[in-house]
Subunit: 443 residues, 2 copies
Amino acid sequence: MENLEFLLENKKFQEIKAQLENLNIADIAAMFENIKNNQQIIILFKLLSKDVAADVFSFLNADTQEIIINALKDKEIESIMADLYMDDATDFLKEMPANVVKRILKNTTKENRDIINKLLTYPENSAGSIMTTEFIDIKQELTVEEAFNKIKKKAEDAETIGTIFVTDSRRKIEGVVSIKDLILANKTDVIKDIMNPNVVYSTTLTDQEEVSKLFDKYDFYALPIIDNEQRLVGIVTVDDIMDVVKDEVTEDMEKMAAISPSDNPYLKTSSLTHAKKRIFWLLFLTISASITGAIMSFFEDAFVAIPALVTFIPMLMGTGGNCGSQSATLVIRGLALNEITLKDYFKVAFKEFKVSLLVSSVLSVVNFFLVWIRYDDPLLAFVIAISLVIVVIISEFIGGGLPILAKKCKLDPAIMAAPIISTLVDCIAIVSYFLIASAILQL
Amino acid sequence: MENLEFLLENKKFQEIKAQLENLNIADIAAMFENIKNNQQIIILFKLLSKDVAADVFSFLNADTQEIIINALKDKEIESIMADLYMDDATDFLKEMPANVVKRILKNTTKENRDIINKLLTYPENSAGSIMTTEFIDIKQELTVEEAFNKIKKKAEDAETIGTIFVTDSRRKIEGVVSIKDLILANKTDVIKDIMNPNVVYSTTLTDQEEVSKLFDKYDFYALPIIDNEQRLVGIVTVDDIMDVVKDEVTEDMEKMAAISPSDNPYLKTSSLTHAKKRIFWLLFLTISASITGAIMSFFEDAFVAIPALVTFIPMLMGTGGNCGSQSATLVIRGLALNEITLKDYFKVAFKEFKVSLLVSSVLSVVNFFLVWIRYDDPLLAFVIAISLVIVVIISEFIGGGLPILAKKCKLDPAIMAAPIISTLVDCIAIVSYFLIASAILQL
């Protein structure tokens, strides 16, 4: 709707309503993000038909949700809360200030309030915190026809009807059937005979990253979640997992760049928060780099005798850092995708060793000639070439090894990426370089 | 099945068969990966019941698939090819050597062969290359009951029945209904009245990354794909998109570490290929770092006069590189998630400027005192503190700006990450540092 602003300003509400009818929920939600005027946001929301209002609401960002909630009457809040899926309702409440939460919960049925309060107690990033309680479960004695009747009754409120769970009287999972199984079966077939009794599930406290690995492995659309008494209490659907994957990748990338991870988008994070997220590692790394500097003092005589030696420091440090971060990135990603496991330690080490021999040969030969031509000093060129070989081998070994070591120590391998490795490799590069130079050039 | 090897060696085939029945497809496939003996792989595959064989086959890696295909009779290949989904069949054929492909296609029905040959023509990473042709389409005149009958007939072969597409006689899409809509409708309702006529789709040539953004925005389970004559030719399902997301992230991370991206897992890539993927950028970066070195020659007098100046090079270069890569990572990820758009250029620049002021103040103050204490020289400490402020501001500005500039030039922002930025920042850091030192210390 390109002329939305014009229509809102000129109060052409009927026209807006007509156009809204043809739009997808996500597209309607996207329109809200472009409106600057709070009053217009509220008007637009009130123009939505009752059957899409809650759906659209769940797609909005927290700021817009707050603007709308504050403008709604108690009754309207009640209706939204009745229509929201429980996981969306919980996500939304997590973002609201306390006084708003209080007013919302006051306008929520006791049953839903209890569910929300329960969902809010699950730890961040647990399966419980992302699951929804609106699933369909049936008993195994039902016939397919009876099952369809039950599904028909519950479908409106269920987040998915693609996967139906079979539970006993204590809500323990006994099996799973897909809607496809049911459609292909005969009306008189009994669920017990067509269900798959081999159900993969997670518990409420399983980490969401583990849950996403199950979706990746099994190509699920929905996964059942059980509590510590083995009762089915919720499901996680594949669209929630898409968000999890996105968040986990962002977190990994942030860790790899030595940033403390956060959930907020770049532009919505204050400069102070940005600075706080970055300063810890920067301080740590300046101090460790100062140690490299201190070590260099031992070689002062060498670089006062041959000042040209100093001019190779950026190249050697840079190459070490880059080689290390290449290896680290490949190994960190391989570990995240389960393509590399802890027992592959020697395979990785051996491969990095072979790669570093190949890479360093090329780099040494090229740089040997570059230095020879520029300084007309084959011995200096030789020092640089040998140093490159040593620096590259050590860097790739460290880059490939540290993430695996981190995982062995139950740390996140992603923290062992470029910044940490560069700092470590810098130190080793400088020391090797000056030792080699001192030996060969007899300083 | 922990004792699988034992059972295979002792030919306890009945027992294996019995145990296989209770296992999930993905779990059965995982068992194959652990068998070292090709003969046992073939035996295990032949023990699978006909209705799961093709499904399991599609989950296997290419090496295992090749071992199995080479051991199968023509008739057995024919049966597998008839049962595979077309997208899985195409993926599998892409990985096989030419002579194997020839034999497989000889044992494929003409109809499927035509579909596969068509799918193989779509460019890599296009929607056409990941779609499947096994979808369900119905006509809008049907009643819900008639639609269910049609679905029942086609369900067995369809990759998903969650989303049903409505097409006209020329196969142009007219609408979409979910299986939930159908279940909730009355038997006598006409599809036309309950379908959603507002269909989101992609074309066969759309990049898979764009397709995955649509799934992210709309929370789809399946997206229709049309050809250039607007005809529905396939669907992409959410499980394919999970793989796309994984591959795209790996590609981004590799680019960010200055590695040419590839599709193969770390351990399955030969050392020579690894070396080739890494050498281009390393060579480029050593040469650009040599330029930084050449620039340093201009300041030889300075560091011969005060050799201690050299010992701060690693810290200043490291901090510049780390600040730059922090900013670059945040901006690259923000661009990938559409949280930052091109028109946010000034907002990003301003935010990075504020962050760099905050971060550099802390770093300068800490380092000022460290240097003062160590060298007992407040003027030298002052030089380092001022240099840090300048280096951090410039690094964050470059780190935040280059990815946006890359995107403006239609390049992938991910190439503007740590390695490129470090090399650029190193050069600027060194020059600023020596200029500041020369001015303040009057060298």
